[in-house]
C-alpha cells in the first residue's frame, strides 16, 4: 500500500466515518465541520491522488460523484503499523511494546486489559 499524505488521510477519515462511502458534497461539509475549508481544486486533487493510489474508487451517480473506500480503516491501521514496525523496530514487536510501557505510553488500566486479552488467547490456543 502506498503512503498517503496527512491531508489525504484526513479525507480517508471523513469517508471512513461516513460508513466507507460518501458523496462529494458530504465530504465537503464534513471537512468544513473539521475546520478544513479547502478549495474545490484541492479536494478533488487529493481525492484523485487517493484513487490513483488505490485507496478509493469513484463512480458517478447522475451528476454527482460518490467516493468509496477500498481499504477500510482497520486495514489501513494494520498496514501502517506493520510498516512502522518494520521500519522503526525492524519487526521487533516486543521492543515496541516495551517502549510503550517504559515511556508510559500505555496506561496501567490498558496494560491490565491487554494482559487479560493475551492470556485468553494463549488459553484458547493451548486448548486446541
Amino acid at each position: 500500500m502506498q503512503q498517503i499524505s496527512d491531508y489525504e488521510l484526513e479525507l480517508m477519515k471523513v469517508i471512513w466515518n461516513n460508513d466507507g462511502s460518501a458523496l462529494y458534497a458530504e465530504i465537503v461539509s464534513a471537512l468544513s465541520v473539521k475546520g478544513m475549508n479547502w478549495t474545490k481544486n484541492t479536494i478533488i486533487t487529493l481525492l484523485s491522488r487517493l484513487i490513483d493510489k488505490g485507496l478509493l474508487k469513484t463512480n458517478k451517480i447522475g451528476h454527482r460523484n460518490r467516493y468509496t473506500a477500498i481499504i477500510s480503516a482497520d486495514e489501513y491501521q494494520t498496514s501502517q503499523t506493520e510498516h512502522f514496525l518494520h521500519k522503526v523496530y525492524e519487526g521487533n514487536a516486543k521492543g515496541l511494546v516495551s517502549t510503550l510501557i517504559q515511556k508510559d505510553l500505555l496506561s496501567a488500566a490498558d496494560y491490565e486489559d491487554l494482559m487479560e486479552h493475551w492470556q485468553n488467547l494463549q488459553r484458547k490456543s493451548s486448548a486446541e
Binding site: 496527512d6 491531508y7 479547502w38 478549495t39 481544486n41 484541492t42 486533487t45 487529493l46 484523485s48 491522488r49
Partner: protein
C-alpha cells in the same frame, strides 16, 4: 487519383500564400493589433490548409488546372488534328495494311497547325500513366506525413513518461490551497494537480485527460508562484495544447512545404506572447513589473529536459524571453479603432483564403440535359459503359462521358461510307469508314483500329471499350435488319447561324426526337397552315416570351429555312441554341469582332451579308492568319478564280491543310488538272488529298449540283450561308 494530389498541392499553395501574406505584413500589425488576434488569425491559414472547400473557380484551383493541362498536352504525340489522320482512314480500304495507313496518315497529319486550337485538355490515353505517378506521389506523401505525426506522438508520450517518473506531488496544503484559489478566482473548470520535478527547466502544463502543472522548484516567492500559476492556467483555459497539436498535424500533412514550419514557429511564439498579454490585462503597472521578474526568475532555473512540443512552458529561449519582456513593458489596452482594424484584416484574410481556393474536381459538370443516355454493361456485366448512339447521315455518333448534342462535330465528309465518331465532351475521334458491305466485319475492323490507337496512346482503354461496344451494337442492329438502313439522306441535325437583324441566331434543325424531350418548345404557325416546333435551349428559353426575338425567329424561318426545305426533306424541329442581340452594330464591325473573338458561327452568319470586297479581305486575312476554320467557311461562297488563286497559293506555300479544304471546292475539271500536276511534281500527299474525292461515287440518279453539294457537305444550303466544312469548325468555336 491525380485529383487528390492536385487538391493537396492546391491547398498547400493557397496556404503558403496566406502564410506569406501574414508574415510579410507583420511589421504593420505586430505592434498595433493585439497578440491575441495575432495568435488566432493563423486559424484562417490552418483551415485553408486542411479543408478542401473552395468556390468552383478560384485562383489556385485554375492555376493547378492549367498546369495539369499544359503537362498533359506536352505529353501527347500527334496533336492537333486527330481528324486529319482519321480522314485518311476514310478512304483507305479496310483490308489495307494498317502499317501503310499509319505512314500515310502520319504524312498528312504531321504538318502542325499552329493556329488550330488544340483540344489539349483531354487526351485520356495519357491519363493512365499519369494516374499511376499521381498515386505513387500520393502514397509517398501520406506515408511520410503519417510517420512524422506518429513520431511526434511517440516523442510526446515518452516525454510525459519521463516527466511523470521524476515528479512528486506537492503535499503542502498551503500551496495547494493557494493554487486552488487562483483556479477558483479565474473561473477555471476542471481540476488540475500540482507536482514538483527537479529535472525540468521551467514550469509546464502537461496532460490532456489528467492535466497537471509541474514546477521545477516548489520554493517560490508568493508573487512568483502566483504569476507562474496564472500563466499556466491561462494556457489551460484557452486549450492551447489542442491548438498546438492542430498546428503539428497541419505541419505533418504539409511536410513538404517549408512555409508551414515558419508558421509553426510563429504560432508557438505568439502562444506565449498572447498568454502573457492575457495575464497582464488585469494587472496594474507594478504588477506587470513583478510578472516580468517572474519570467526572469524562471529563466534562471536549470534542468535537463526541454521539449517544446510536449508542454506549454514558461520560457522557451532567451530571444523569446526578451520579446516577451518587451511586450510586457509596452503593453497598452486595445482601442476601438484597433478592434475594427483587426476585424477588417481578418475579413481580408478570409477573403483571400476563399479567393485563392483549392482545386475543384472537374467532375462537377452535369450530365446532358438531353437525356439521351443509356447504360450498357459490357460482357462481364459489371461496369456500365456510358454512351449513346445517334445515327445520322451515315455517321454514327457515339456520345460518351457526358457529351451532349452541342459537342457533336459537324461532319460532311462522305456520302457513301459510314463512319463512327466517338464524341467526348471536349474532343472526338473518328473511326474508319466502312460501307454497308463491310457491316458484318465492322466490329473486327473497328477493334483493329482501336488497338492500334491504344498502342499509340491515342485512345484509352475505356474509350476503346465504348467504341467496340457501340460498333457491336451497330453491327448487330444492321444485321438483324431492325436498325435504320443507312439512308444518307436522313434528315441530319445541322447547326448554323444566321443574321436576322438585330439578332444573330445560332440554330440547329432537325433536332433528333430523342433529344426533344428535354427542351422547352413552342409551336409557331406559319402561313399556309404549316406548323413548326421550335425548341429552346436553357440559354435561349428567355426569348420565348420576347416578342421581338420571336418575330426575328419566325422571319428567319419564313425567309431562309422554308424555301430550302422540300417535300423530300421537310423542315422538322428547329432548335435555337443561342441568340445574341447585336442591335444596330454595322455588319463590318460585327464581322471584325467575331473574327477576333474566333466565333466562327456568328462570323459566318455575318460574313454572308458582307459585300464581296469585304469577303475577299477576310479570305486573305484567314489565309494569312492560318485560320483554317474561318478560311474554310469563307471559301464556300467563292468564285472559281478565288479558289484557283488560293489553291495555287496553298500548293506553293506547302499548306496541306488549306489545300485540302480548297480541293473540296474544286470542280471536277480543275480537280483532274491538279491531279495531273501533283503526279508530275511527285507530291503524293497532295495527290492523295485530291483523290479522296474520287471515292465519292455519285449515283446515276443524282442530278443537280445541289445534291452533290448536299452529299459532300451534308447540307443543301447551296448558297452556303453559314455552313461549316470538313474540319468541324462549329465545335472548335464552341470550345472557344
Amino acid at each position: 487519383m491525380s485529383y487528390f494530389l492536385k487538391l493537396i498541392l492546391s491547398l498547400s499553395l493557397s496556404g503558403t500564400l496566406l502564410v506569406l501574406i501574414l508574415l510579410l505584413s507583420r511589421p504593420v500589425y505586430r505592434n498595433r493589433l493585439s497578440k491575441h488576434w495575432q495568435y488566432y488569425i493563423w486559424l484562417v491559414v490552418i483551415v485553408r490548409l486542411l479543408l478542401p472547400i473552395t468556390p468552383e473557380t478560384s485562383l489556385v484551383g485554375s492555376l493547378i488546372q492549367r498546369v495539369g493541362q499544359i503537362h498533359l498536352s506536352g505529353m501527347t504525340v500527334i496533336q492537333p488534328n486527330e481528324h486529319n489522320s482519321s480522314n485518311s482512314d476514310t478512304i483507305a480500304d479496310f483490308s489495307a495494311d494498317s502499317a501503310e495507313e499509319k505512314i500515310d496518315s502520319g504524312d498528312i497529319g504531321s504538318t502542325a497547325e499552329p493556329n488550330t486550337p488544340t483540344d489539349n485538355s483531354l487526351y485520356k490515353s495519357t491519363d493512365n500513366s499519369h494516374n499511376v505517378a499521381a498515386a505513387l506521389f500520393l502514397i509517398a506523401w501520406l506515408i511520410v506525413g503519417m510517420l512524422l505525426f506518429m513520431r511526434k506522438v511517440t516523442v510526446y508520450q515518452s516525454f510525459v513518461k519521463y516527466v511523470n517518473a521524476g515528479s512528486k506531488p506537492i503535499d503542502d496544503i498551503s500551496l495547494l490551497e493557494n493554487f486552488g484559489q487562483i483556479i477558483a478566482q479565474n473561473r477555471i473548470r476542471g481540476s488540475i494537480d500540482l507536482y514538483t520535478n527537479s529535472l525540468i527547466s521551467s514550469p509546464l502544463l502537461i496532460g490532456f485527460i489528467h492535466p497537471r502543472i509541474i514546477l521545477p522548484d516548489a520554493d517560490l516567492s508568493g508573487s512568483d508562484f502566483y504569476y507562474t500559476m496564472l500563466h499556466e492556467l491561462i494556457h489551460y483555459k484557452r486549450r492551447d495544447m489542442f491548438y498546438k497539436w492542430l498546428v503539428q498535424l497541419t505541419i505533418c500533412l504539409h511536410w513538404f512545404n517549408p512555409a508551414v514550419y515558419l508558421m509553426g514557429r510563429e504560432i508557438n511564439r505568439l502562444c506565449e506572447l498572447s498568454c502573457d498579454e492575457r495575464v497582464i490585462k488585469t494587472l496594474s503597472e507594478e504588477d506587470r513589473k513583478a510578472y516580468g521578474d517572474t519570467l526572469l526568475n524562471a529563466a534562471d532555473t536549470g534542468g535537463s529536459y526541454r521539449d517544446a512540443l510536449a508542454s506549454v512552458t514558461l520560457n522557451e529561449n532567451k530571444e523569446l524571453l526578451k520579446g516577451r519582456l518587451e511586450a510586457i513593458m509596452n503593453y497598452r489596452k486595445m482601442t476601438k479603432s484597433i478592434r475594427t482594424a483587426a476585424i477588417l484584416f481578418t475579413g481580408i484574410l478570409i477573403g483571400a483564403a476563399t479567393v485563392l481556393g483549392a482545386y475543384a474536381s472537374p467532375a462537377g459538370r452535369t450530365a446532358s440535359d438531353a437525356g439521351i443516355y443509356k447504360n450498357v454493361s459490357d460482357s462481364d456485366g459489371n461496369q456500365a459503359l456510358d454512351y449513346s448512339i445517334q445515327h445520322e447521315n451515315g455517321i454514327y455518333y457515339v456520345l460518351a462521358h457526358g457529351a451532349t448534342e452541342a459537342d457533336k462535330p459537324i461532319s460532311g465528309v462522305t456520302s457513301l461510307y459510314n463512319m463512327l465518331i466517338l464524341v467526348r465532351k471536349d474532343s472526338y475521334a473518328t473511326f474508319g469508314a466502312w460501307d454497308d458491305y463491310d457491316m458484318q466485319s465492322l466490329v473486327r475492323h473497328i477493334s483493329e483500329q482501336c488497338r492500334t490507337r491504344l498502342a499509340n496512346g491515342q485512345l484509352t482503354q475505356e474509350d476503346m471499350d465504348i467504341v467496340i461496344a457501340a460498333a457491336t451494337e451497330i453491327q448487330q442492329t444492321y444485321l438483324s435488319g431492325s436498325g435504320n438502313v443507312p439512308d444518307r439522306r436522313t434528315y441530319a441535325y445541322r447547326q448554323t447561324a444566321s443574321y436576322q437583324s438585330p439578332y444573330i441566331i445560332l440554330y440547329g434543325y432537325n433536332l433528333p426526337s430523342s433529344a426533344r424531350g428535354s427542351y422547352k418548345n413552342m409551336t409557331v404557325a406559319l402561313a399556309d397552315g404549316l406548323n413548326i416546333q421550335i425548341y429552346f435551349s436553357e440559354e435561349t428559353e428567355k426569348f420565348m416570351s420576347d416578342d421581338k426575338a420571336m418575330s426575328a425567329i419566325t422571319s428567319m424561318i419564313r425567309h431562309r429555312l422554308l424555301p430550302k426545305s422540300s417535300s423530300s426533306r421537310p423542315l422538322e424541329a428547329l432548335f435555337i441554341v443561342s441568340m445574341e442581340d447585336v442591335g444596330d452594330t454595322d455588319l463590318s464591325s460585327l464581322a471584325e469582332k467575331y473574327y477576333k473573338e474566333e466565333r466562327l458561327n456568328y462570323f459566318c452568319a455575318v460574313f454572308v451579308e458582307l459585300d464581296s470586297a469585304a469577303q475577299q479581305k477576310y479570305l486573305a486575312l484567314a489565309y494569312d492568319d492560318q485560320n483554317i476554320s474561318f478560311f474554310a467557311s469563307c471559301i464556300d461562297d467563292s468564285s472559281t478564280d478565288t479558289v484557283d488563286h488560293y489553291i495555287l497559293k496553298a500548293y506553293e506555300d506547302d499548306r496541306v491543310d488549306f489545300f485540302a479544304v480548297l480541293s473540296g471546292v474544286l470542280d471536277e475539271e480543275s480537280r483532274q488538272q491538279w491531279l495531273e500536276r501533283c503526279d508530275q511534281d511527285g507530291r503524293t500527299a497532295y495527290r492523295y488529298i485530291l483523290s479522296e474525292d474520287d471515292t465519292e461515287d455519285y449515283d446515276a440518279e443524282d442530278n443537280g449540283a445541289e445534291d452533290d453539294f448536299y452529299d459532300k457537305y451534308g447540307t443543301d444550303d447551296y448558297d452556303a450561308s453559314s455552313t461549316t466544312n470538313i474540319l468541324d469548325l462549329n465545335r472548335i468555336t464552341y470550345l472557344l
